[in-house]
């Protein structure tokens, strides 16, 4: 593992994109910042702009309305970027898979590196998912 790669893994800045979610996964993502989980130990922090991000967390059903926006946000991100699908909605579609606004699970739209299923997934599950991805 080179020094460059190590630096990337030690300082992941997370951008959080809600693709039509019910806000449950978003609240659980914010839980990761709290003293109990404290993702800043690993050098992660939540950033406000996609231009600074290294990890793109996508939550929610990929709806027809948000499909072009998700693609645009992915294009705006500086590469290399890690895409993580949070929650069962963005992984497979879940209970909304037959809905008329549903436009495929997230990996049909942009390449996804990790899936964290759950409705909503626990903060431990998200941390475990990202750690597994980093140790790959």
């Amino acid at each position: 593992m080179g020094f460059k790669e190590k630096c990337f893994k030690k300082s992941l800045w997370v951008f959080h994109l809600s693709a039509g979610s019910c806000n449950n996964c978003d609240i659980e993502i914010l839980d990761c910042l709290t003293p109990r989980y404290d993702i800043e130990r690993f050098g992660m922090k939540l950033v406000g702009s996609i231009r600074h991000a290294d990890v793109l967390l996508v939550t929610g059903v990929v709806t027809k309305k948000l499909l072009p926006r998700i693609k645009e946000v992915y294009d705006q991100a500086p590469k290399p970027i890690v895409v993580v699908a949070i929650g069962v909605c963005s992984c497979t579609g879940g209970m909304f898979k037959d809905c008329y606004t549903f436009k495929g699970p997230l990996d049909k739209v942009i390449p996804v590196d990790a899936y964290v299923p759950g409705c909503p997934p626990k903060p431990e599950a998200m941390l475990a998912g990202i750690m597994k991805l980093l140790n790959k």
């Binding site: 460059k4 404290d38 800043e40 130990r41 050098g43 950033v47 231009r51 500086p78």
Partner: protein
Amino acid sequence: MGKEIFYFLIFPGLLFSGIVGGFLSWFDRKITARVQFRQGPPLLQPLYDFIKLLTKETLIPKKGSQFTFFVAPILALFGAVISAVFILLPLFGIKTGFVGDLIVIIYLLNIPSLSYMIGALASGNPLAAVGASREMKLILSYEVPFLLVLISIILKSGMSIKLSEIIAFQAANGAFIGSVSGVIGFIVILMCIQAKLGLVPFDMAEGEGEICDGITIEFSGTTYALVNLAKYIMLFVLPALVVGLFFAGMNFEGINILWSVLKVVLVVLLVTLIRNTSPRVRIDQAMRFFWIWMNLLAIVSIILAIFGL
């Protein structure tokens, strides 16, 4: 010539102040974490962040002025490093500077903020433009109290506008923080530093919740790394200036080294605690705060300084 380049690039300049600033930025984040009962980032976190940003892809917005956008972070870094050289050389007692270097320092300390503004306006992003306009208003509000405090210091030090003479005067007659006008001036300059660094009560230029990092929204990769480095350096330089103006500078003989380091760390600690215990104010509230209350305090400080208190 070689000596000046050494000053600029290695010792009080880019390398040294960058490393110390990175350490202070880690300290700031660690104290923030401890205040919130968290564990906080590891010691090398600023280095990791910097290297990671340097090696990432740099995107330059298609609309807007691309050359200006790319040059603005470099200008910001130049401003921060040159002000570091001008402030730290008299502070470490290496070189005494020239008559009137305090005025040059006032100008140089503004260059980073101005460059962020130029970069934000050149990016063509509407949120960045909002951030830039807020930063502009913030500069207009905090510059006047800052200058008034410097006037009170000049009055107290017997009309000297040379940083090394001010420090020597304090070394002979006791630090300015020991007097009433000094304490009032210190409060005002602490608030001005908070606004100059863009930390929480006055971080409306990069309000994360509302305008998504504001002035730095379009910076990515190398350009954002340079912006971050300039911020690290400013986090070292401004407390160092306060130490020079109020705490009798630094002394590097024996046990005094520890005391000198503690002074800088103490000012950074105060800045961090203010940042952690206050909410963000609106831009009009900030202007009112600086124009009415801080100016009033600074004028009181000048009047007390004239009477020699």
